[in-house]
C-alpha cells in the first residue's frame, strides 16, 4: 500500500468544511484502509482526518493504543461523527501532521460522548476521556476546517486548575 500525501497548512483546502459520507461500501473501506496506513506511517500520529489527505468527507481514525498507560478504545473508525456532550476542560499540548514543526497548548473537553458510524455503516456510541477525547476533538475539527492553531491558548491559561500531585512528604531533614 502507498501512503497518501498529507496536505500541510497554508493549503487552504484544510480550512474547508467537509460534507458527510452518504454511501458505505467497498470504495469507503479501501479509502479507510489507505487513510489508516498513512496515519500509522506518520511518527507519533494517533489520529488522522480524511481532509488531511485531500479527501473531503467526514471520516476520522483515532488510535491511542500505541501510547503507554493511556486508556482508550483502540482503533476507532469514525464516519460522520457527532459529539453529543462535552464535560470539563483541560489544557494539553497538540501538534498536527498538517502543521509541521509546531506544537502548542489547546483547551479541550475532558470527556465527550459521541456517535459515529463504523466503516460498515453501523451506528456506534462512544464515551471518550482525556487524551483520546483530545485526539477525537482535534480530528473532528479537521472535518470543520479548523486547525489546532485556531484554538491556541497562552501558557497562563489553566495555570492553577491542574490537580496537585499528592503524597506530600515533608518530614525530611535538610
Amino acid at each position: 500500500m502507498v501512503e497518501l500525501e498529507i496536505l500541510t497548512y497554508p493549503d487552504q483546502r484544510l480550512k474547508q468544511v467537509s460534507p458527510p459520507v452518504r454511501q458505505f461500501g467497498e470504495e469507503l473501506r479501501v479509502f479507510i484502509a489507505r487513510l489508516e496506513f498513512t496515519m500509522r506511517g506518520s511518527p507519533g500520529g494517533v489520529g488522522i482526518a480524511a481532509p488531511q489527505v485531500g479527501y473531503f468527507q467526514r471520516i476520522v481514525i483515532v488510535d491511542v493504543s500505541a501510547k503507554p498507560k493511556i486508556p482508550g478504545h483502540g482503533r476507532m473508525v469514525l464516519v460522520n461523527p457527532e459529539i453529543l456532550s462535552w464535560e470539563g476542560m483541560t489544557r494539553g499540548r497538540e501538534g498536527c501532521m498538517s502543521v509541521p514543526d509546531f506544537t502548542g497548548n489547546v483547551m479541550r473537553a475532558e470527556r465527550i460522548t459521541m456517535t459515529a458510524f463504523d466503516e460498515e455503516g453501523n451506528l456506534q456510541e462512544y464515551l471518550c476521556e482525556g487524551y483520546e477525547a483530545r485526539a477525537v476533538q482535534h480530528e473532528i475539527d479537521h472535518l470543520d476546517g479548523l486547525l489546532f492553531l485556531d484554538r491556541l491558548v497562552s501558557r497562563h491559561t489553566d495555570l492553577f486548575r491542574r490537580k496537585k500531585y499528592d503524597n506530600k512528604i515533608c518530614n525530611y531533614s535538610a
Partner: protein, 173 residues
C-alpha cells in the same frame, strides 16, 4: 550568504515598539524568526532572531533610528542558531509561594540536579509590597526521568512552596 543574529531590545514601555522595530527590519530586508517579546516591570523587552545578508554593523544601523526615537537599548549577537530546531517539552511545572529570597535559585537548583532542561521559564511577582507572591511556570525536558523531578520537588514543597508538575504528552493528529 545570510546569517542569523539575536537582537535584544530593551526600553521603557510605550505603544509602537514592536511595530517600529519590525518595520525597520522589514524595510532593511531582514527575515524574522522566533521571538519572545514582553513587558517586564515598566520595560518592554524583545529577544528576536533576525536573518540578514550582512554584518552585525548593518543590522545595528538598521535599528539605530527607531531605537533613538523610541529610547531603546539594542544589543546584537551573532548566533549559530537556525529555525526548525524546536525541542518538545515533556514536563510542565508551576511553582508559587510567598516570595522569599532565593526561591528561584532553590527551585531551579533542585530541578537542574534532577536533570531538568528548561526550555521556557516565565516568572512573576504578584501580591503586593508587604506580601509578595512569587509565581513561576516552566516548560522543560526531563533528561533523566519525570519521576526524579517529581521527588526532587517534594523537598521544596516542604518550604511552603506550592508545586505542581504535569507530564506533557503532545498529541499529534
Amino acid at each position: 550568504m545570510s546569517s542569523w543574529y539575536m537582537l535584544t531590545v530593551v526600553g521603557e514601555d510605550r505603544p509602537g515598539i514592536v511595530a517600529g522595530v519590525t518595520a525597520a527590519l522589514f524595510k532593511g530586508g531582514c527575515n524574522l524568526g522566533e521571538a519572545s517579546m514582553m513587558r517586564l516591570g515598566g520595560s518592554f523587552t524583545i529577544m528576536l532572531m533576525v536573518e540578514l545578508g550582512g554584518s552585525d554593523d548593518v543590522l545595528q544601523q538598521l535599528v539605530e533610528p527607531v531605537a533613538r526615537s523610541l529610547g531603546l537599548h539594542v544589543h546584537i549577537d551573532s548566533i549559530e542558531g537556525q529555525l526548525h530546531r524546536h525541542r518538545e517539552p515533556d514536563v510542565s511545572i508551576t511553582v508559587y509561594g510567598a516570595d522569599k529570597t532565593g526561591i528561584v535559585a532553590r527551585v531551579t537548583a533542585v530541578l537542574a540536579e534532577a536533570g531538568l532542561h528548561i526550555l521556557e521559564l516565565e516568572s512573576d511577582v504578584a501580591g503586593n509590597r508587604e506580601n509578595p507572591v512569587y509565581v513561576m511556570h516552566i516548560e522543560g525536558y526531563a533528561e533523566k526521568s519525570i519521576d526524579l523531578l517529581r521527588s526532587a520537588l517534594k523537598v521544596v514543597e516542604c518550604d511552603g512552596i506550592e508545586v505542581s508538575l504535569e507530564a506533557v504528552d503532545t498529541m499529534i493528529g
